[in-house]
Symmetry: C2
Subunit: 415 residues, 2 copies
């Protein structure tokens, strides 16, 4: 290691999206390597509205690996962090920064410590797959810092060991996580099916539900399903393989009716497996499903797909912007904000859809007409915390603007 | 046909119980004969609290078949009624009433009409399997009237054609409906596994839920499941056969932990299949499941089994009377009656359990302590309409007391 002084700090900042599965991952065949029992397919969400930003820094002055999440220091001792750090370190290459006069050899990395700062641009613990974006960003930024020469697929296999669905956040657009066959997990990687421009009509509305109910974590939930559900094996072996083929075809052909049918059916089947678990797991909320099903049935072909992960938030995918406006209108009718809310924090993300609905203040929401397809349409005031309007988005990117770094270039500590 | 005058009326009155499946029937392989895709097992409920009473009458003065349900005339033109009437008529034998001087030959029955009056001793349309008790009672009483010599198993195959689960109401105690193999359904019959005295510790509490939500009828629901669920076939072919064997064993050995485990798992799997249906079907209510699961887990072995049919009512089976009192105490804590209720109509059936709980008026309910195993135990006032306390009960019986007949012995019309 050659450098002018021991005071240097070398940093990389990256941004990584979150993703939502439309053919679900539920059940591991290997708990520690995080190898799934079936393939899954996801849509990457626009990082402008939902993403993790991570700065990783290295300096000879750091005496241990440290990490800060949303400004608060957290422990890196967990097996998942350790595994990602070890896998990336073992693939590090020589790094040279001529301007700063820094040279790090492959061997130096073994003795150098890193600082990691990570930040989610969306509320944490809202059940919005923050661990997927988080581990993807950790692996992607460390790989850039340490000049890891593996391709994105290999990196996805490392991110997978942090959080299964993280592997799918290494690409934009439409992504398949191939379950793989090998015991070491080397072929359990993500591949891109199509980028985000391939099908750019789609608009996504996420209803973040105000549920205080204690939920089963997805890690323990899927373990219990694998151990006790009599249906999960049949799903993984007999149902999902065909759905994967059909979903790839639907995405390739931008065939929304097939896409919607498969996404809704697979979300429901995943929750059916949860219910078939002993004790049963209840994640989702059926009110929104009822609204969407009734609307889709009243139209000639499906307008909106719904999908729920291991939590009560609904992810709704509208076939285009016009439909998204009708969807948001229906959602705002059924789920008006509580009286003390303000509109600008009730609908976030791409707020321009709100203009298409013709809603500019809370009184406009009160005046919305009920959906014509529903008799005695009910209102559930306060059941939704807020809506996020977004769309399919791009994969990880490096941020070159130094102002976006989360660590100080002098100290390597959070700004 | 020989008789003193054309004015005679010959009548039979019978009482038949309802039943609750603990291994569920869901899905037909033949819609018109009502042949199921798997065996099922049920517990017959005590007719003292839940039963149908039916009087059937024949007279040469009747010019058509007529039926009254709970005092209101209903049409008999439906295929299910027609099929039961035809099947019983075709098996009619000679009948002679020497005292009245009536003689009906086998052949006469073809030209004689019947009047049927049926009455449920529990609220109709409360999702309490009134059609099971109703068709069982219709078939049983007509068979007695027409001197049908078939055994109870054969009668069950006729009742099955009125409503699938009706076949299980022809016996008391614990009953298995064998799916059968023949295309004509002749071997799709019910058999008694054990009578109600075999396991008389069990106490059953039914929570009738105040749900106004429109439900999918079980006929159309199971048709949609058979057509669209990817899991139902696997359940019927691979899961249920083993569960039937295990449940028979549990009943035989009065093994409550196994009984409870199987009943709860099978109820949840049935609802999982409903959720896997397209569009998904939501029947049950998860609040009560959560309470029971937490309680069972806090004890050394399960105290209470829960099972839900195609509706939101919970059927809870307590291992004995002491447990039933603890159960009712928990249920009354979580689900107090609305303010205008009176206790005598809030807990019906075997009210003596209420004394074991120490509840004699509504204030006692307010003073109930929260269940120790639940943190921040919530109350859901008004969510339950009423509770029925009952137990496993006997099969169909003839009522010889003429006062219990629902038709006038002179006119053959409702009293």
């Amino acid at each position: 290691m050659a450098c002018e002084s021991e005071k240097w700090v070398l940093m990389v900042t990256a941004q990584t999206p979150t993703n939502i599965a439309v053919i679900k991952y539920w059940g591991k065949r290997d708990e520690s390597l995080i190898l799934p029992i079936n393939d899954s397919i996801s849509v990457t969400l626009d990082p402008e509205h939902l993403c993790t930003t991570t700065t990783v820094a290295v300096s000879p002055s750091f005496d241990q690996d440290r990490m800060w999440l949303n400004g608060k220091e957290i422990s890196l001792s967990g097996g998942r962090y350790q595994r990602c750090l070890r896998e990336i370190r073992s693939r590090a290459s020589d790094v040279e920064d001529e301007k700063k006069g820094i040279k790090i050899t492959k061997k130096d990395w073994e003795n150098l410590h890193v600082h990691i700062a990570s930040y989610n641009n969306f509320p944490t613990a809202a059940g919005l797959a923050s661990s997927a974006a988080g581990f993807a960003c950790l692996v992607f930024s460390l790989a850039k810092l340490m000049n890891v020469k593996e391709d994105q697929g290999k990196l996805s296999a490392i991110a997978r060991q942090g959080s299964g669905s993280a592997c799918r956040s290494l690409y934009g657009g439409f992504v398949k996580w191939i379950m793989g066959k090998h015991d070491d997990g080397s072929d359990s990687i993500a591949v891109q099916l199509a980028d985000e421009k391939h099908w750019d009509d789609l608009v996504i509305v996420i209803a973040v539900v105000s549920s205080r109910q204690k939920e089963t974590s997805s890690t323990s939930g899927m373990r219990e399903s694998v151990e006790t559900s009599m249906l999960i094996k049949h799903r993984a072996k007999e149902v999902v393989p065909k759905r994967i083929v059909d979903m790839e075809e639907a995405i390739k052909n931008r065939d929304f009716p097939s896409f919607a049918h498969l996404a809704c059916a697979d979300s429901n089947q995943f929750h059916a497996v949860c219910l078939d678990t002993c004790p049963p797991i209840f994640y989702m909320n059926d009110t929104i499903i009822g609204c969407v099903e009734k609307w889709n049935r009243s139209e000639e072909s499906p307008q909106v797909a719904y999908t729920f992960d291991a939590g009560p938030n609904a992810v709704l995918i509208a076939r285009n912007r016009k439909v998204a406006a009708s969807l948001l209108q229906r959602l705002l009718f059924h789920f008006p904000p509580s009286s003390d809310a303000d509109l600008s924090s009730y609908v976030i993300g791409d707020k321009s859809i709100l203009q298409d609905v013709g809603v500019t203040d809370l009184k406009d929401i009160e005046a919305l007409p009920p959906p014509p397809e529903i008799k005695d349409a009910q209102k559930y005031k306060g059941d939704v915390s807020y809506f996020i309007c977004t769309k399919p988005g791009k994969g990880p990117v490096l941020l070159s603007d130094k102002n976006q770094a989360l660590l100080s270039p002098e100290t390597g500590l959070p700004k």
